[in-house]
């Protein structure tokens, strides 16, 4: 079967599956639309959370980023998994016990204030929109690369599919399509990884393979360190970022993960409190399968690539080299005219530019795997992008229809009316996301990583204090959230987009990058919240009782 045909076939089959699930799981009440009727099994919810969480960036770009950064790439591995420990221990069970639909609903009720609710809605919208635009773009890119349609048509097809199952099924439809999408994406990620691990180290488990020796008896990582030193790159296993910055970036990603509304809301969908803990455990396990494989792929791909191209004759390059050159992801510029590829850490003599995405996308070809594996990879990348987009879409629509319309603007709206409002806001959110996917503003790529900083600086302290500090009142929480998110916005726009006079790396406060600054803004949020609460009136008695209640297990749960 030709490559094109197998890609259309496999992608078509997975899409038919998602649509089938959507029709089977139509939502008929707001309870089903927002939180899937609170009847999702913890293992299924774990899978859905994993698919929700792992975006096109995790699937396509992360292994490549790590393979260029070496040790410094660890910030993403630890940062994007460690947050689940915080979620399971500090947030998920209590928010599930609280038992409402959204994060702004918790903030609004716990801080007995519609101002707090509105601030939370805006924080949720800012975080979710920066994120979703990148996902729609990802769908378009995968389509154009594998299915030979242009990026815009790819975005339209993606919009159509997401729209269909998100509007029809709400959270219920999204949950079960995400379960299917997780299966597709993890299978697609692991198959090439296992093949390549066997090829390079004769160990079928990639996690062990990249700590083993190759056919020459030298440990793979020692070999790669040697190659790096030879070619003027810094050692693969040690980093070049400062320890302080690595510390702060990791913390910002972890805390940001725990504060992302589209992740938190997944824990509202299970039946009981103990299931919220369980599904956080399963979610992390499912995520860890990909996240512990990615650094292995990074090492395999890096070694393979250097072995194949370095100091080799350009005319002897395999066919995939030429193919990826056509897409612009690989560029060879024969500076000294000797027709031999010099790949070097020194920009002056380096002749090869490699896009990070190639490490995952070209892997099956480099390892000469069959066509169906390449087709599977396309379906997996689409599953990753679509599942995340759908999860974000739901947060946007429920923030608008439930927290803004139902709770603030028009409290007497009927359940039917609210359901219509939810579907309408999902519809407009898709249009807006699609617009950004087709006309990506320059800052999208830069802000996706910063969405974590925003979530860490705004939601995390307000939720944690709401549960663990009874005396936290509305004045403290609101001023903390507002100052936290504004400080983060200020720092990222100053150093990323050059607003407020801009600044270079040497101007960073305490040498902390904008990616790591979320941690600082979070600490400021905590300090402001607690100080303000000391000087203002304590929360009313019924709020203290609410907090007491969410801390305890239900009487008759099992």
């Amino acid at each position: 079967m030709s490559l094109q045909l197998s890609i259309w076939l496999i992608v078509g089959l997975t899409f038919a599956l998602y649509i089938g699930i959507a029709i089977w799981s139509r939502a008929s009440s707001t309870n089903e639309f927002y939180v899937a009727g609170k009847g999702v099994h913890p293992v299924a919810n774990g899978m859905a959370t994993a698919a929700d969480w792992m975006s096109a960036a995790s699937f396509i770009s992360m292994a490549g980023i790590i393979s260029f950064l070496g040790y410094d790439g660890s910030v993403y591995l630890m940062g994007w998994t460690g947050g689940y420990v915080l979620l399971a221990l500090l947030l998920a069970p209590y928010l599930r016990k609280f038992g409402k639909f959204t994060v702004p609903a918790f903030i609004g009720d716990r801080y007995y204030s519609n101002t707090a609710r509105t601030v939370a809605v805006f924080c949720a919208l800012i975080v979710s929109f920066t994120y979703i635009a990148g996902q729609m773009r990802g769908v378009g890119v995968v389509f154009s690369r594998y299915l030979e349609v242009d990026i815009n048509s790819g975005v339209f097809i993606g919009m159509g599919i997401v729209l269909f199952y998100a509007i029809l099924g709400g959270m219920k439809g999204i949950t079960y399509t995400q379960v299917a999408q997780y299966c597709v994406l993890i299978f697609a990620f692991m198959v090439p990884a296992i093949f390549i691990s066997i090829e390079m180290t004769s160990n079928p488990i990639p996690q062990l393979g990249f700590g083993s020796a190759g056919s020459d008896g030298v440990y793979l990582l020692d070999k790669l360190n040697g190659l790096h030193e030879e070619l003027g790159f810094s050692k693969y296993t040690s980093g070049s970022k400062s320890t302080l910055d690595v510390f702060f970036i990791t913390a910002a990603l972890m805390i940001g993960t725990a504060g992302l509304p589209h992740v938190i809301v997944r824990f509202f969908t299970v039946k009981k409190v103990s299931d919220a803990r369980k599904s956080a455990g399963w979610a992390l396990l499912f995520i860890a399968i990909l996240y512990t494989t990615a650094p292995a792929i990074a090492v395999f791909a890096r070694t393979n690539l250097i072995d194949t191209v370095s100091e080799k004759n350009y005319t002897d390059m395999p066919s995939w080299f030429k193919k990826w050159e056509d897409t612009g992801l690989l560029k060879f510029d024969d500076k000294n005219g000797d027709n031999i590829i010099q790949y070097n850490g020194n920009e002056m003599i380096n002749e090869l530019t490699i896009d990070r995405d190639i490490m995952v996308l070209a892997n099956p070809e480099i390892a000469q795997l069959p066509n169906w594996v390449i087709a599977l990879l396309a379906a997996g990348a689409l599953a990753a992008a679509l599942s995340t987009a759908a999860g974000l879409l739901l947060v946007i629509s429920s923030s608008v229809s439930h927290d803004l319309i139902k709770r603030i603007i028009k409290p007497d709206i009927s359940e039917k009316g609210e359901l219509v409002a939810a579907r309408l806001s999902a519809f407009f959110a898709v249009l807006l996301a699609g617009y950004f996917g087709i006309n990506p503003p320059d800052f999208v790529a830069a802000t996706v990583a910063l969405a974590f900083g925003l979530a860490a600086a705004s939601f995390f302290p307000a939720i944690v204090l709401g549960i663990f500090y009874k005396k936290m009142n509305k004045e403290g929480a609101i001023s903390g959230m507002v100052i936290g998110i504004l400080l983060m916005l200020f720092y990222m726009t100053k150093f990323k987009f050059g607003w407020f006079g801009g600044g270079a790396e040497s101007d960073w406060w305490f040498g902390i990058s904008p990616e790591g600054f979320g941690t600082v803004a979070m600490i400021v949020n905590f300090i402001v919240s607690i100080s303000v609460s000391k000087f203002t009136s304590p929360p009313p008695k019924e709020i203290i009782e609410l907090v007491d209640n969410i801390r305890l297990p239900n009487e008759n749960d099992d």
Partner: protein, 84 residues
């Protein structure tokens, strides 16, 4: 009486949180970041130990921590309900 039980439950929960989060902090921020250069002197199969903690070990420990917490809390919940 109920109040005492509730307080005991919450105290125990907080104790678990402190212990588990200390481990969470040590394997990632401790072994994977602050002490990485020292641990990299130790060879662990084909890995330098600090590098292994940063890219593999910490993630395995995270998964184990959550499942340990699930186990502990399920036991604590059961205990809390039966003493009521």
């Amino acid at each position: 009486m109920n109040k005492i039980k509730s307080e005991a439950y919450w105290k125990k929960n907080l104790k678990y949180l402190v212990i588990l989060l200390s481990i969470w902090f040590s394997v990632s921020f401790g072994f994977g970041i602050l002490l990485v250069d020292e641990l990299n002197q130790i060879q662990f199969f084909g890995f330098k130990l600090g590098f292994w903690f940063a890219q593999q070990g910490s993630i395995y420990v995270f998964v184990i921590l959550i499942f340990v917490y699930i186990y502990l809390m399920n036991k604590l919940d059961k205990n809390y309900r039966s003493r009521k």
